[in-house]
């Protein structure tokens, strides 16, 4: 008890110290405002250029999946964190995106970026339909209805199957012996190249989301999240902006589905389960639904950690328990997720260490 009291007191002191820094920022905004973009750009370039040479093929594949699922988590984070709408249908939306992209890649010779765009746009229309109940429902009921819709979509996908180069609208050929792989873009045939391709697309999707959050829709979403009646009184067409959020989330998820189709080469309906949406929500909450970084952390949990566990000889099934504990911890003590909590905890640890280091110094100086 005492220790936490001391901690919060020091935190307050730190905030007071930062107050003059805030006012001084107005006078010379350039250096401070540039640091963040530069750090992010360097990080991005490292991931793009450095990471593939450091990793084995095994981890490059896991990294590609992480980049793709970061986009999916970004979409769900927008809905949950920014607008306050809990959707348990995002994994099904991802499956729809993958289906559309696979169908287009088999049926047409369109360049890969166009296919991504098309699958994003078509998924946007379908996903917005999934979001329609959000106009009348919220909270648990919205979560339930989207979960049921996701279940229905999963059933439809299981009966129609994913396209495998066959003819007709469904593009499925059940009797074919030789199944051609889903093609990748010509510039990204190899795994490291496709990883880079995915990271760049993910970067674009994050920029798209950031652009929205920094402008009119982002402000409107923040208002809706806090209080719908206050948003209405502010002149916000809440129906429009809620659907807009679902449209944006579905668009990015559809693009992610296109990347997924290219990265996996083969799609099977058994790989898309209704309950994946629940795990997705869990990791998004753990990562931090209110932060764009949280989406990356969430994807790391969902796609990279299982591979690490497998490599270490631990069953990835343990992760389900770990996620459960993690969500519990986030909901009770750190509502803004790990991206918010970890730096705070590290700073706290740093102060503790600094105090430990500082304490012996006066005693030694006393002796000498």
């Amino acid at each position: 008890m005492d220790a936490t009291g001391v901690e919060s007191a020091t935190e307050d002191a730190a905030e007071v110290e930062s107050a003059p820094a805030l006012t001084s920022r107005r006078r010379s905004p350039q250096p401070r405002m540039l640091i963040r973009p530069v750090v992010i750009a360097v990080l991005f370039l490292f991931v793009l250029l450095g990471l593939p040479s450091l990793f084995s093929d095994y981890y490059i594949d896991a990294s590609t999946q992480t980049a793709i699922y970061a986009i999916v988590a970004l979409g769900l984070g927008l809905l949950v964190g920014r607008v306050g709408m809990v959707s348990l249908g995002q994994a099904a939306v991802l499956a729809m995106g993958a289906w559309v992209a696979a169908r287009l890649l088999f049926a047409t010779g369109l360049p890969f970026p166009f296919v991504l765009l098309a699958s994003g746009l078509i998924t946007m229309v379908l996903g917005t339909l999934v979001g329609l109940p959000a106009l009348r429902l919220s909270g648990l009921y919205l979560a339930l209805i989207t979960l049921m819709l996701a279940g229905a979509i999963t059933v439809v996908l299981a009966t129609t199957n994913f396209p495998n180069g066959g003819h007709g609208f469904l593009g499925y050929n059940g009797s074919s012996v030789h199944i051609p792989p889903i093609r990748r873009p010509s510039i990204a045939q190899t795994d490291p190249a496709f990883f880079r391709y995915s990271v760049i697309v993910a970067g674009l999707m994050f920029l798209l989301a950031l652009g929205h959050l920094r402008s009119k829709p982002g402000r409107a979403w923040a208002a809706i999240r806090q209080s719908e009646s206050a948003a209405l009184a502010a002149g916000i067409n809440t129906t429009l902006y809620k659907l807009w959020a679902f449209a944006l989330a579905s668009f990015v998820t559809g693009v992610a589905g296109g990347l997924l189709a290219g990265s996996l080469h083969y799609l099977y309906s058994i790989d898309f389960q209704t309950q994946d949406s629940i795990t997705l929500l869990a990791v998004v909450l753990m990562g931090g639904a209110y932060s764009l970084w949280g989406a990356i952390v969430a994807a790391f949990f969902l796609q990279f950690l299982p591979e690490l566990f497998t490599n270490w000889g631990i069953s990835p099934d343990w992760l389900t328990i770990l996620f459960g504990v993690g969500v519990l911890q986030v909901l009770t003590t750190a509502p803004r997720g790990i991206v918010d909590q970890l730096p705070k905890d590290l700073a706290r640890l740093g102060r503790m260490l600094a105090r430990l280091v500082r304490r012996p110094t006066p005693s030694t100086s006393g002796e000498t």
């Binding site: 402000r219 209405l232 002149g235």
Partner: protein, 232 residues
Amino acid sequence: MTVRFGGVTPLDKMSVRFETGTCGLIGPNGAGKTTFFNVLSGFVKPVSGSVTAFGEDLLRMVHFRRARWGVRRTFQTEQAIEELSVFDNVAMIHEHSKLGGGSRRQEVIDAIRFVGLDIDPDTRVGGLGAGQRRMVEVARAVVGRPRLVLLDEPAAGLPDEETGHLGDVIRRIPEQTGGMTILVDHDMSLVSACCEVTAVLDFGKLLASGPTAEVLRDERVIRAYLGTEETG
């Protein structure tokens, strides 16, 4: 106008007329003050009656369009958006109203200065104190030349000195915006300091209306507030 929720009739054949300037609306708890605001901002539909403001029928407009037309309100529980900065909070209202026309940035800064907030506009509202957040809400209500500003107990929970500052700001709203203000509050000194005219509601009916000082001396008003002895 009449408003009914099932068997409850919060506003019963109530008819009131406000002139331009700052008008007070008072009454005991449950008198129908907030319901009246909810009718004006479109959250509640009256079963009968009409609302005419500046020659236009408000009831025919959907709620969010009324805000664009120029109805602004603050809420009993303050509703400044915590996640956004002070600037974004005010700018948000401006970008959804079709009024005004000058530079948005300038008008937003003007509104923040008007309510006397001397802080960095980029500060997040979530980190502000109750008094400052209340002023952010008032800034949201006055930006972009509103026509009808509804203030629902803006002084609730504020210390006396901040209420005094709030009163100064409210008094200057009509000349700043050119619109009309209706103030609901239980703080009679604030109401009499801000409003030339005041209407009193009790059990959904208009009890009295007229110049504030006269209304506050009205015997029926005092009785409504202090309760009546059952003498008939």
